[in-house]
């Protein structure tokens, strides 16, 4: 088994609209893969399809070599496929701590809930200070920390992160990315979808560029030339 997660000719869409076609991507264990691309390229839809939140039209998803297309979302999560969604999607009426407890909903994670919670509090001391506060009252950066913390409570083997820098100040964005750098050093497998190409490239091992439902570039980080990537990104070259 070479890849932890791979897709084969995967297609999905909403209603009459096809969002992406024939995507064959691979994600290696212990490495960080970044998917960059403009709005509407289908990046978020791709992640949602990996999680089973959207049913694929065609193709296959394999996690640890096992076909996943028919698995319900909660089984995928229990197996260690975890998503930190775009726009945080926190439970705003629940407290910070209750949000983390919800992260430990998958059966296998319930026993180690307290240990994982303390680990998250260690990673984000600010969440510990605010543990009894309603999640809806957090600032954007704190909310993103909580979303990451909740994801870690699910004991991910592979973490799909969707636009973590959305709506954050540059300072906060740096702070969030330093967390991902730490996770990367701990050998976490990360799939990062970002529009902030600069930041995303810094922590990537492999880069995909997605445009209008297609992968238009797939290169290891070392081979990527930022100038060329941005030219492609903004369609300045053919």
């Amino acid at each position: 088994m070479k890849y932890l997660l791979e897709t084969e000719k995967l297609s999905a869409g909403y209603g009459a609209m096809e969002v992406f076609w024939d995507l064959s991507l691979t994600f290696e264990a212990g490495r960080t893969t970044t998917i960059v691309g403009p709005n509407g390229a289908g990046k978020s839809t791709f992640l949602k399809t990996l999680m089973g939140l959207i049913e694929p039209r065609a193709g296959d998803i394999r996690f640890k070599g096992q076909s996943y297309v028919k698995e319900p979302t909660w089984n995928r999560i229990n197996d260690g496929l975890v998503m930190i969604p775009e726009g945080r999607l926190l439970f705003s009426d629940l407290s910070v701590e209750e949000n983390l407890i919800m992260g430990a909903y998958p059966k296998k994670t319930r026993k180690s809930m307290e240990k994982n919670r303390d680990h998250v509090f260690q990673l984000f001391p600010r969440l510990k200070e605010r543990r009894n506060q309603e999640a809806g009252t957090l600032s954007g950066g704190e909310a993103q920390m909580l979303a990451i913390g909740r994801g870690l409570m699910e004991e991910p083997e592979i973490c799909l992160v969707d636009e973590p820098s959305l709506g954050l100040s540059p300072v906060m964005t740096n702070e969030i990315f330093s967390i991902f750098r730490e996770l990367k050093e701990d050998k976490m497998t990360i799939v990062l979808v970002e529009q902030n190409t600069n930041q995303a490239l810094k922590i990537a091992d492999h880069v995909y560029l997605m445009q209008a439902g297609k992968v238009t570039l797939s290169e290891p980080r070392e081979a990527v030339d930022l100038q060329r990537l941005e030219d492609l990104y903004f369609a300045r070259t053919a």
């Binding site: 939140l53 999607l89 439970f91 919800m102």
Partner: protein, 324 residues
Amino acid sequence: MNIKISALMLGVMYLGVPFFLGDNDYLIGLVASALIIAGVAVAWALLGNLGGMVSFGHAAFFGVGAYTSAVLTMDYGVPVFVALVVGGVGASLSSIFMMPALRLRGPYFALAILAYAEIFKILATEATGLTGGAGGLLSIPSLPVFAGVDFGTKLGGYIVILNIVTLMLITYYFIRRSSYGLALKAMHDSELATRIVGVPATYLKVVMLLVSAFMTGAVGAFNAHYINFLEPDYAFSGTWTVFPIVAAIFGGYRTLSGPVLGALFIYLVDQLVFKNLIPQGHQLILGVMLAGMIILSPSGLLPVITNLFTRKKADNKRGEAQHA
């Protein structure tokens, strides 16, 4: 606080009511009827508060439970106490037919389930072989003598329905405290977010519907053996939906004991006061009372009481501090 009030309320119901009203069949019967409403109100609030689904169709579960239990005892000689439980199971089974409605949200779910309730009423009217049709069922067996106690009396019946409601409250309490309770609470916030953390949201809703239907069915079955008579227009009457909803909202349907307090208050005030003032159409006043409650305290009667207690405590503490 909520728990203390529930315990206090149950204490009064178990000790105070039999002691003071035990030999007055009329009054104890009224309180028992109020508890029947309370039972349905708790089941309704469980689905509405924890499950986030407002139902206009609980009359269906009430009726199905009543008919299941009545037919089983009359035609198949099943013991009454067993039949009460099977009545609940029957109501749960009937709720399976309503599950397609779980795909709908908010008012659409409420209306769809109202339509289902009507279907069950028609079925009960037309299936004359089983239910006796519009003519109804007469002389349904009363609650039996069990362990030397005659539960067929007004007081005996009161004790049984009180036990049923207590069991329901305990179940409610434990569901709310469990991980399912938190997941259900989270579902109100964002169903998509619960799916992202791996909560099988639809499955949880199904379970809540089954539990709520079971509870309502068991209460409906109890009612059939308490009044010994059933007909479709009565057993599936909209009253069994509307009265519990009014009671639950009036008492505070997001609280544990609110629906019970609401049912006792609404039903007893209606029967003892308004009915004497306006013999016809006294339910009108209930509408006015409910509207007033929603304006003055949208979360119901129980929070008002709780606030009274806590404010007193706070005042006492302040008083002590000043003396010191």
